[in-house]
Every structure is written in C-alpha cells, then in structure tokens.
Assembly symmetry: C2
Homo-oligomer: 113 residues x 2
Amino acid sequence: MDTLSATLSALADPTRRAILARLASGEASVSELAEPFDMSLVAVSKHLKVLEKAGLISKGREAQWRPCRLEPKPLRQVDDWLESYRQFWNDNLDRLEAYATLLQQGEVDEPSK
Amino acid sequence: MDTLSATLSALADPTRRAILARLASGEASVSELAEPFDMSLVAVSKHLKVLEKAGLISKGREAQWRPCRLEPKPLRQVDDWLESYRQFWNDNLDRLEAYATLLQQGEVDEPSK
DNA sequence: CCTATATTAAACCTATAAGTTAATTAACTT
DNA sequence: AAGTTAATTAACTTATAGGTTTAATATAGG
C-alpha cells in the first residue's frame, strides 16, 4: 500500500484520531493512551501499531514503557495532497460568495422565486 | 460512521483519489471515469457510491448518463481537521531548521561526529 | 528470586471492503 | 418493437480490519 493510502486509512478511525490528538499535547505511554477508551489495551496497542506503520507516531523505550510521540511527516503529506484541491474549493467558494453578493444587491432572483 | 471518518476512509483508496483527481478537471460520466482503470465498470460504480456517500462527489442525470462532479465540502473538512496539527508540524520544522542553521554555522557538532 | 507492571504476540471471531459475473433497469436509436 | 448503451442491483468470494481472550516477554523493585 502506498504511504498516502496508509496514512489516510490510519486517520479514518476515530479512535486513532483521538490518540493523535492526545499525542499532540505531548508524549504518552501505551497504557496512558489506552485509558480513555472503552476497549481492551490490546486493541489500543493494535491501533498504535497501525499509526506507527503509517509513520504517524514513533515509539521510544523507557524501562517497560514505550512512550509514543506524534510524527508530523505523514500529516504534511496529506496537507500537500490537499493542496491540489485547495484551488478547486476556493474557486467554488468564490463563486458562491460572488453569487451571494449579487443576491444581496438584488441583481438576480433567488432560485425559489 | 462520522463524516470525517467516512471522508478519510473514502480517500484512503488510490482508485478513488484518482477519480477525484480526474473530476478536479471537470465533470465526467461513470464510464468515462471507469475507462482508465483495470477493473470492471461495476467496481468503479461502487467506488463512486462510496465517494458519493462521503459527499465527495455528486451525480446528476442527463439521459442515461450520470455526470459526476467533485464536491469540495468534505475536503475542506479534512483541511480544517489538519489545521490543529499544522501548528505542531511547523514547530517541528522550525526546530529542525534552527538546528540546521546551527550546524551550518558550526556552532554544534553533528550527531555522527 | 519472585512478583507486579507494561506491552506485545497468538489465536480466534465477525463484519465489511473490494472485487467478480450475471441479471435488471432505463433511455436513446433505428 | 427491437437493439444498444449506461448504469445499478444482486449474489457471491476473498481478504482484511477491528475487536476479543489468553499467553508470552521484558523490566522494575522488594
């Protein structure tokens, strides 16, 4: 699987996004990360492995803990991918805004009229 | 499934991203969209349904064709979600850049030395 | 050395994603 | 009316995602 697909696939799960959100405020161990969730620690450990394979997190080792930290690179790649579409949705927005302005100025009829 | 998860899940497939890329340059029918791919038209039709459910495309009807067009809203939502992390990876970048500058100025040793 | 804690590995279950082929629906064309 | 083109629906297969429980591994501390 290509890296962008792996990243987006990893990000598609709400548990994993919550984990990333938690890690955005600093490192945390596996059990710390698992605590908020209503699922087994093993399940969370698997989610972490998915995130790790996608390069979204990395794990260190401190005694028996594996402190996880967020890795920005894949997120930047998503951002880069989105770049191609930014132009597109800005165009659409511009068109909508221009249209809304025309409406306000009474220069066109509303569709429902 | 929440909408962000549906969007990211839809985007995680390279075929579907290729379809979106194609649609960024204008509307296209189902068969037109299917043409470049080495899979059945039915398979592509299913991909389109996934994209449609996620709100990433919409389908019109013109005679027997269903012209598809890109819808920007879910992509913007992804962009908004990324926003929270932009700060984070900029921080990291800044740190790296600052470090690189120090290296160039010979003010610190390289890790390997 | 023994035990508790942190994490991973193994084996398993179930639902669903992604593809197939064959059949169906709908609209245009002759 | 019959045939062609466009697309969807249905039924089916296979692989994988996401969860479980139980067992294994590694480290810390008395």
